[in-house]
Amino acid sequence: MNTTQKILGGKFSIEMQTFGSRGEPLLFLHGAGGLTGMDGFLEELGADFRVYAPHLPGYGESTGNEHIDDVIDAALFYHQLMDELGIPSAHVVGHSMGGMLAAELAALDVHRAKKLVLVSSAGFWLDAHPIPDLFAAQLNEIAGLLFHDTKSAAAQMLAAIPQDMKALEVWYVERVKRFAMASKFLWPIPDRGLKKRAYRISSPTLLVWGESDKLVPPIYAKEFSSRIRNCKLEIIKQAGHMVMYEQPAAFCKVVRDFLNG
């Protein structure tokens, strides 16, 4: 993994992680929690692809969040980033909130996403299946919403809260920064009109869902397949919302098969 810092148009300074040096470019858009520093699936995808995983402004060391107010601003920011990386089109993989932004990115300019992978994606709202309010969840409830098995090593590691006071403050401030940014797309209901624009998405699209996703239940995959014309669904067993952390091997296999196929 390499970490680089990139300046965009004088407005943004972007911290980005890159994996791999061969193959087609792959842009990964993280979810509301952000990159975790334990993103093994990106390393693995890096064997086949040149993986670019930028931190959204407001996350990590990336700045310029004041220039992004809504999903359109965010999608255009990603277009700009792709241009400056010299990858005007790429495979785009987005998780959760990142799935929502990936879909917007692809709908606004149909030539950007060569293939599109939406993982446990946000973007729609079904009255009959309300998405739990992650923003109001207590720290001890979050793991239950995100993981199939809260006792698994991945869940334990990702949901850990620092015990040391100083580390706790740093962790808390970073979490507030990230969720504040996420609130621009997800608060109070994670629907910003993708249903009006999804018809434009022409990229071959793979939907990946954890079988026991309690945050964005698999019923939402149906909503995506009914609105995006060229769609295929893979359900991963023994996985919740954080599917690529819980079942990285199964996740990477379906993504690789789809992108290489």
Partner: protein
């Protein structure tokens, strides 16, 4: 020293086991705990109490805005202020205030406040809170990351609407209007005094200092714990070279007066318990949406007033602790006089907002508290800060020019308020059933 009699208008009949059975008094409190018939009596009792405070010589009557909240039954405080504008003659109407980022467009606030100022003959204090996270983010769906920016824009628009002579266009980020042309305009010139109620955000101190608005710290923690925030405010004022005028700060304080210190405990202890353990029982997840407080405020380490951490601190406090730690200034008139003077000097505060109806307090007790305070305490503390000019109270029309309502006729046909049962009696009977 100026005194505003401040009402939160709580629902007085939450069940005994409320805290165990329900997670929050705010946002998602079950609707079936609210009985509109009891509500009818409560609103009327509470307006009676504010009107009584006017008769007793308080300088201001305070109301504020909360949503989906059982301790604050005023989603629209302007409705209360409108009623008070007609039924009172002396006191200022301290509306603390309208959460201006929630109104679309915010000139609605400029208009309604102008109406109140005109109806009351220039007695309005215009409060502009950001609003709590519970009210603004969770109940009204405002995005936490942008609410402050929206608030500042609304503030600028309202002031311009009040002060500009000609119609103007407003091309804001959050509000776009081709014709802003306020009708009616407020009586007070250039506009009613603006008080900014805060819960301890550090940005609010700068904002008040830069605009010469009054800063009102609406704390439920009392004057001892309020000291940290007051000091923060005065530090900013001092650093910016502003006059350290005590009237530029307001502070809310629970005050409970009885014949003796012992009687005060007997009278008020259960209602303090109701307030702190039922009214302020707020689910931690609603206390502080991410992005509502700025990183600067979080790092300043100022603890929120509600939520789990706050209630843990209060959990096993008894009457002695509440008094000792300053949550309540309570006791005989002599005790209250002494502690109140000490508290106001301690905070360097000129505008006291008195919470004299708290939690489940019934009307008789509220009346006693109000009357004892007005006659036995207020005259003795009034002289404090007389060397300063209060630039933050309304400048009303001369008394002779203030219109009063024509006499109404139903007063003779209906039993008087005094002879009909107060809400408590009927409602308690209802609860017992």
């Amino acid at each position: 020293m100026k005194f505003t009699w401040f009402h939160l208008m709580p629902y007085r009949f939450l069940p005994e086991d409320f805290k165990d059975k329900y997670r929050s008094v705010w946002v998602d409190i079950p609707r079936d705990l609210y009985d509109p018939k009891i509500g009818h009596q409560l609103y009327n009792d509470y307006l009676d109490q504010l009107e009584f405070a006017d008769q007793m010589g308080f300088d201001g009557l305070g109301v504020n805005e909360h949503h989906q909240n059982a301790y604050g039954l005023m989603p629209s405080p302007n409705i209360m202020a409108a009623s008070l504008a007609r039924r009172t003659r002396n006191a200022n109407l301290v509306v603390l205030g309208n959460s201006i980022a929630l109104y679309n467009p915010p000139i609605r606030v400029a208009e309604e406040f102008a109406m109140l100022d005109v109806i009351s003959g220039g007695r309005l204090v215009a409060g502009f809170p950001v609003g709590t996270s519970m009210d603004t983010n969770f109940c009204y769906g405002e995005i936490p990351a942008t609410i402050r920016e929206k608030y500042y824009e609304a503030h600028d628009l309202i002031i311009k609407a009040w002060t500009e002579d000609k119609p103007f266009a407003w091309n804001g980020k959050y509000t776009k209007l081709r014709y802003v042309n306020l009708w009616p305009r407020p009586i007070q010139k250039p506009h009613p005094p603006i008080w900014i109620p805060g819960g301890g955000s550090v940005e609010t101190w700068d904002f008040c200092a830069d605009h010469a608005h009054q800063y009102s710290f609406l704390s439920y923690f009392g004057y001892l714990q309020g000291k940290k925030v007051a000091d923060g405010y005065w530090d900013v004022m001092s650093k910016k070279g502003k006059e350290l005028n005590p009237y530029s700060m307001g502070f809310a304080q629970v005050v409970a007066v009885a014949e003796t210190d012992q009687q005060a405990e007997k009278d008020y202890a259960p209602h303090m318990d109701y307030f702190y353990n039922r009214c302020l029982h707020v689910y931690q997840g609603f206390a502080d949406a991410p992005g509502y407080r700025t990183v600067k405020t979080i790092q300043a380490g100022i603890l929120g007033q509600v939520g789990e951490r706050a209630s843990r601190i209060r959990q096993n406090l008894n009457w002695g602790d509440f008094v000792e730690q300053g949550y309540v200034i309570a006791g005989s008139p002599k005790t209250v006089r002494e502690r109140l003077s000490e508290a106001m000097k301690h905070l360097h505060c000129g505008h006291l907002m008195l919470l004299m109806q708290i939690g489940s307090m019934p009307p008789e007790l509220v009346r006693k508290n109000t009357q004892l305070f007005a006659t036995e305490v207020m005259p003795h503390v009034r002289g404090l800060w007389s060397e300063y000019e209060d630039k933050w109270s309304p400048k009303r029309l001369p008394q002779a020019e203030i219109q009063m309502p024509a006499r109404v006729h139903f007063e003779t046909a209906e039993p008087s308020r005094a002879s009909r049962p107060a809400a408590g009696i009927t409602a308690e009977a209802r609860n017992a059933k």
